[in-house]
Symmetry: C2
Subunit: 107 residues, 2 copies
Amino acid sequence: MAKEAGESRVRGSRTGRPIMALLDLLGRRWSLRILWELRNEPLTSRALRAACDEASPTVLQARLTELREAGFVELGEGGGYGLTPLGRDLRGTFMPLHKFAERWKKS
Amino acid sequence: MAKEAGESRVRGSRTGRPIMALLDLLGRRWSLRILWELRNEPLTSRALRAACDEASPTVLQARLTELREAGFVELGEGGGYGLTPLGRDLRGTFMPLHKFAERWKKS
DNA sequence: TTTCTTGCTACAATTACTGTAGCATCACGC
DNA sequence: GCGTGATGCTACAGTAATTGTAGCAAGAAA
């Protein structure tokens, strides 16, 4: 699907603004969750699926492909999905969501 | 759908962990985009729709309802949707996405 | 009372996702 | 070599979510 960062056939905005492409990609089902579950260590496709409440392998596979094409996730040589340096960069930007979620719970 | 923060019938995880509920809510189509478009000022439902590339009012309305129930968005008295204090708090946590998106584009 | 704009809904068509099953490949123990 | 188990990944029918278009009721002007 998306082939290069910030361009290409992205649902919604086609203005080329990378933030739109990013919001679109992250707004697909399981995208955020996958990045979240990979935040600490790489996981095999099956471990990842278990972490994602046994979500359908069909979507997970689709999301993983998209996230790989986006350059956020990679498949290690010995198997197992992990974050790329760029993916770790992205992780850094939404790790604060964790603390926000706690604040949210209290409201 | 969701009625209170961090609980209730949330797709995916039912562990009660608020981060899961948050990732699920934000992972629905147009959720992130709506919050993004409201980041600066309140918008009327129609202005919001225009900002969201004329997305279907059906989904937008559904997302707005969910985001309102989550306490992130509110409908002002004179009309127009805006972020609540909690919503502005949330906005703060993913505003860095903008800069990340720029870095991403360059990769 | 006509003409806006507002928030919001109906509904059929289309797309996305789910759940289950299973394949091909590789490494291991034997 | 032959089973056993794990890996990444795919097929496919059923279900749920989203799209696109049209339109409604209420309020504010004019």
